[in-house]
């Protein structure tokens, strides 16, 4: 890959827009996990999540997770666009939310939380 050693011509952009995308992705992953768990734990909710019958509750879980992710991204971007933020806390929160997403999509964890 060719490289550039000289001064950059890019404008230094504030990190707010990136921070919004990062935290929103974490929120989306956590929403995916939470909806997976709730749909599995509560039969009534499982029925409500059946948005598209051939795909079953998976259609509702994933559609709602995407809606939550995009809504969070839109709102956070509006709030943080053009600002420079301390990224450490946002990064930690994003990774924690990502970990929650992974954990709650892992069947042994959801079974454990339901006492199965």
């Amino acid at each position: 890959m060719a490289t550039t050693h000289g001064p950059t011509r890019d404008v230094e952009l504030p990190n707010g827009a990136g921070a919004a995308a990062l935290l929103a992705a974490g929120i989306g992953c956590a929403a995916l996990g939470a909806l997976t768990f709730l749909g599995d734990a509560f039969a009534g909710l499982k029925g409500l999540l059946n948005f598209h019958d051939p795909a079953g509750p998976l259609s509702g879980v994933t559609t709602l997770a995407i809606v939550v992710w995009l809504a969070a991204w839109f709102l956070l971007a509006r709030k943080w666009e053009g600002r420079d933020l301390a990224l450490k806390g946002i990064g930690i929160a994003s990774f924690a939310l990502l970990a929650i997403g992974f954990a709650l999509t892992f069947p042994p964890v959801t079974a454990l939380l339901q006492g199965k």
Partner: protein
């Protein structure tokens, strides 16, 4: 030699979109890792930046194509319920797996995990592609964002790898079959 429409879609979902995404991972990881800091030898020039931007957006599109084709095309064939009285469950993979104690966990553990965790990939990959499209080589100066991009890229890879591995196993024990036959080659 022939293939059914369902088999073709399953191959396209797993070996087309999914495997291509997994193959692209190392390229993206290396490119982002090389952006180690402002003015470092790893900061790409304009042509490379454009190529990396297209590459990452392409990866995000592959991740979306994988989960959408999986959830809305292949998965309905997997979970279709057999008519009452059906004895041969070969065309009903979910029920075929659940019919035996030796294979039921492939559904309860494998499919249940795969179908959900896979959706982390497009979310994470879209964020990574957005960060690079937005900041370009400026990402090298935003170290926190660059580290986050790397971590989410890894998360996208891991979730896809889990889904891909279980997809391969599930297709071995209970393949999605049926549909219209597509002749590929005539025998001698």
């Amino acid at each position: 030699m022939e293939m059914s429409t369902r088999e073709l879609w399953t191959v396209l979902h797993g070996m087309g979109f999914g495997a291509l995404f997994l193959l692209a991972f190392t390229g993206a990881m290396v490119a982002l890792v090389r952006m180690s800091g402002n003015g470092s030898p790893g900061v790409p020039d304009h042509g490379d930046r454009t190529m990396l931007r297209v590459f990452l957006i392409g990866m995000a599109l592959l991740a979306w194509a994988t989960v959408l084709s999986g959830t809305y095309i292949v998965y309905p064939w997997y979970r279709a319920a057999p008519p009452a009285g059906t004895i041969d469950l070969a065309d009903y993979p979910r029920y075929l797996l659940l019919s035996r104690a030796t294979t039921s966990e492939w559904h309860h553990f494998g499919m249940e995990w795969k179908e959900h965790v896979a959706w982390i990939a497009p979310i994470a990959m879209t964020m990574v592609a957005y960060l690079y499209a937005k900041y370009g080589r400026g990402l090298a100066r935003h170290r926190g964002l660059r580290a986050a991009a790397l971590a989410f890229l890894l998360a996208a890879f891991l979730s896809s790898a889990v889904a891909g591995a279980f997809g391969a196993f599930l297709n071995k024990y209970a393949p999605v079959r049926g549909g219209v036959a597509i002749p590929l080659m005539k025998g001698a």
